[in-house]
Amino acid sequence: MKPLLACLLLFLTWLPSLSIAEEDVRAGALLEALDVRSFADKGEAISELAISEDPRTRYWLNALLDGSLQRTHEGRFVVVLNNRGRSWPVEDALTQEDLGEISRRELNRISINNSLRNQIRSLIAVADLYSEDLSLRRASAERLVGEVDEALAEFLAEHIEQETDRRVQQRLSLALAIYQLEQGELDAVAELHGSLNTDARIALSRAAAQEENPLLAQEAQAALSAIEQRLKMNRTAETLYFGLSMGSVLVLAAIGLAITFGVMGVINMAHGELIMLGAYTTWAMQQLLPGQPGLALLLSIPAGFMVSGLVGIAMERGVIQFLKGRPLETLLATFGISLMLQQLVRTVISPQNRTVVTPEWMSGSLVVNDALSLTLNRLYIMAFALLVFMALIYILRRTRLGLEVRAVTQNRAMARSMGIKATRVDMMTFGLGSGVAGLAGVALSQLTNVGPNLGQAYIIDSFMVVVFGGVGNLWGTLVAGMSLGIINQVIEPWAGAVVAKILVLVFIILFIQKRPRGLFPQKGRAAGD
């Protein structure tokens, strides 16, 4: 890792620049060296570039990293600004002057592979240790764990003192300790004791396995078993999290159905497609607001609700209202609608999946500790699911609409005689259930494919959850979704995904034998007949 330090020196010593012409000739040569076939040679050239004293080095390295450093057939180095379509806008890599658009046929990429990518990132990381930006420093310290070599170790030992942030300091000393352990220093074991960091654990297990230094091996072994203990706990926590997050996806997918099917009694086979529409709305929003995926996503929440809700209302008005009192027939009609909606999306948009971008703030994970991090997108979805659930409970339990919905579904004729506008209530309820399906779609667009088959993937699970929880009981849906999620995730590690799924289904079948009306059955006389 010699270049690492070298590069570092470069960024430290800010040399006065040479004359422009001289500089460009040198720079040209540096870039020229990058355009070789062999990746090994390219690696050398990158190191060369790093220790060159050109101020544009960082710019070139970044361009190289994301593949935008390219060469025209004429041999000119350019940086591609946007690589979609047939012609791409470029700028000169040396002068940064705008060169307009060039056909992609004319361009050759200076390609790198994973190991070069690694190399470049480490180079940048070391430099970042000096950044003003705390988050950059933290990220860079994070990166250096497990990558320390002799030269860097010396430097780090000094640098830690200067660092003001505790987190960065901790990381750096961890990085240092790992290096020291590899060198056989006994003190390092204490530093690593209880650390959940992967590189630390690997270093410890190497130390425990070596035979030259029995004392070290023994100490390392002790440290290691302490770590194992903590890892186990973290794994349990992780599984629980996985279960809850899978559960919240199930709940979200099923909760709309809990209304259209559970409360209104419509066997809504098009529920999946309503979810799909919500997901497509997210995609459309992102198309409308290019470059602002986060805002688009937030706006899709009301938009997705509206779109699916309106389609739901149209379905209700157009078809389902004619099927009053014939619940089984709704299966037939909604199945027909589901086929048509799928094909509609195929013909109007495309049979292919669409890209929905995950906004910055939703990607990555929340790091609890080195062994446990919670993926952000699922965390958000969990919160979203709970929010939607609470809102629905409120609407159905506490508002006039909720009362009217329940009255209409239980005895339509009588409800009308009591002055309840059953038609309107039906419309609103179905719209509400469909709208919630749309919300599920918005959330799912962050997890899975946005394509015509999206709905199909969730319809069966949704019915399963609603029935397992007890038809007509929202709390049942919540508990059912969550418990199925957890059961699945607990079984999966030892049974495999396929068998886990089968076991969960068998479990549901057997469970229903014990409780023929789901987890939370409607009790009492009325439910019996």
């Binding site: 994973n114 995950t358 199909q456």
Partner: protein
């Protein structure tokens, strides 16, 4: 004069429509182009499109319809193995001609089918060679959807890794998931743990179709970077990537015989034609499309050579036919009904394209029967007379099972 009828047997609805519709469009485009050049043998070409709706028995029914009712001269079609297996008896019975464009598990050689996609030795084996030799991978996760292609490929790979590279059994983790699996949390976590034991680890993915998007998303979110644990996929191409935000995936790999990003004029021409045909500036091309391109051209050449569209004569004429592929080389039809292909390894870029980081020095000939499976090691396939057999056992010297062999034996007996 009657037009020459070209059957297209790709699902336009149902779960497979997502992959297959572009192939239907590709054939329609090629037919259109050919007609613009004056057709074939002085006759117009006419594409006959039917929709087997991702339903396997319906595939057989549709195949029969194409051959029996529409009397097509050749069929381009199918994606999944099971659909191919479903139509195979129909093609053999009615002596049709099928060009199958998708990479598959091998272990098959039919007189009536030409396999223009990759056999395992044209994709999987070179890919692990690359990972082992160039990237230094020591630990392997073989993750796949639970069906025949991944099962076969993984079996071949597991035995190949153990025999060729001496990888210990502990260093191979095999994992199967159902079709359309969407909750990858546990598996990705497991991969992460498996990969953090100090040895360089890679994932060889035969995960199919829709399951990929949530898989890659989960990889990205759990912070598995291509630099730590690269994933090399055999079923993820430009088409699949067009539905994913590839930002977090940069550096993950795929092994194919064609990438849209390949820098040749033939390829750019093909892409431009495709964009014009679809009217979509963002339209992408992929490997199976190239396979259809090659297959179509080979068939065309063979028809020219034979001077007729008669199936038997076209078949006899097609062996050895050589046409350019889109990556700057040539594809030859082998007597085992497979073709020669270069193998390319590409890294995913942030624009949904692949950047080729490695390729085989020359082309590789497709192998119907794997050398790494005990049952098929001794089988060879050669459909030219006098062998004329898809599964000739070199040990026993017998041609197993196939109908053609029976016929040959009968003919000899008479």
């Amino acid at each position: 004069q009657d037009p020459i009828r070209v059957g297209v047997l790709h699902s336009l609805s149902g779960t497979m429509a997502i992959s297959e519709t572009v192939l239907k469009d590709t054939i329609e485009m090629l037919v259109e182009q050919q007609n613009a050049q004056g057709g074939l043998l002085g006759r117009e070409l006419e594409a006959v499109v039917v929709d087997p709706a991702s339903n396997w028995p319906l595939f057989a029914e549709r195949a029969r319809e194409l051959l029996d009712q529409h009397e097509v001269d050749v069929v381009f079609g199918n994606w999944t193995s099971v659909s191919r297996k479903a139509v195979l008896p129909v093609f053999e019975e009615l002596n049709g001609l099928l060009f199958y464009p998708v990479q598959y598990e091998g272990e098959e050689s039919s007189k009536n089918v030409f396999y223009t996609g990759a056999a395992p030795n044209q994709q999987a084996i070179p890919a692990v060679n690359y990972l082992h030799e160039q990237v230094g991978i020591e630990r392997w996760v073989l993750a796949g959807t639970d069906y025949v292609y991944p099962r076969t490929t993984n079996r071949i790979l597991a035995s190949y890794l153990q025999e060729e590279f001496g990888v210990a059994e502990d260093d191979i983790m095999i994992n199967y998931t159902p079709f359309g699996h969407s909750d990858w949390q546990n598996i990705v976590a497991e991969i992460r743990r498996f990969g953090s034991q100090g040895k360089k680890t890679a994932v060889v993915s035969t995960i199919n179709g829709d399951a990929n998007v949530p898989f890659y998303r989960e990889l990205g979110n759990q912070g598995i970077d291509a630099a730590d644990i690269p994933v090399v996929a055999f079923s993820v191409g430009e088409q699949e990537l067009s539905g994913i935000d590839t930002g977090p995936l940069v550096g993950h790999l795929a092994a194919w015989n064609y990438f849209m990003s390949v820098d040749t004029d033939a390829n750019y021409d093909f892409i431009d034609a495709w964009i014009d045909y679809t009217g979509d500036e963002e339209a992408v091309t992929n490997d199976p499309m190239e396979a259809h391109y090659i297959g179509f051209n080979m068939w065309k050449e063979a028809v020219r050579k034979a001077g007729t569209t008669d199936v038997d004569e076209v078949r006899d004429a097609i062996y050895g036919v050589t046409v350019p592929n889109l990556t700057g080389g040539y594809a030859v039809m082998m007597p085992n009904h497979h073709i020669t292909k270069p193998v390319l390894i590409g890294e995913i870029q942030n624009n949904g394209q692949f950047d080729v980081v490695w390729e085989t020095p020359g082309t590789v000939a497709g192998d119907a029967w794997s050398d790494f499976l005990p049952g098929s090691r001794d089988l060879v396939s050669d459909w030219r007379a006098p062998m004329s057999c898809g599964n000739y056992n070199v040990k026993t010297g017998r041609c197993g099972g196939s109908r053609a062999a029976e016929e040959a034996a009968e003919a000899l007996g008479e």
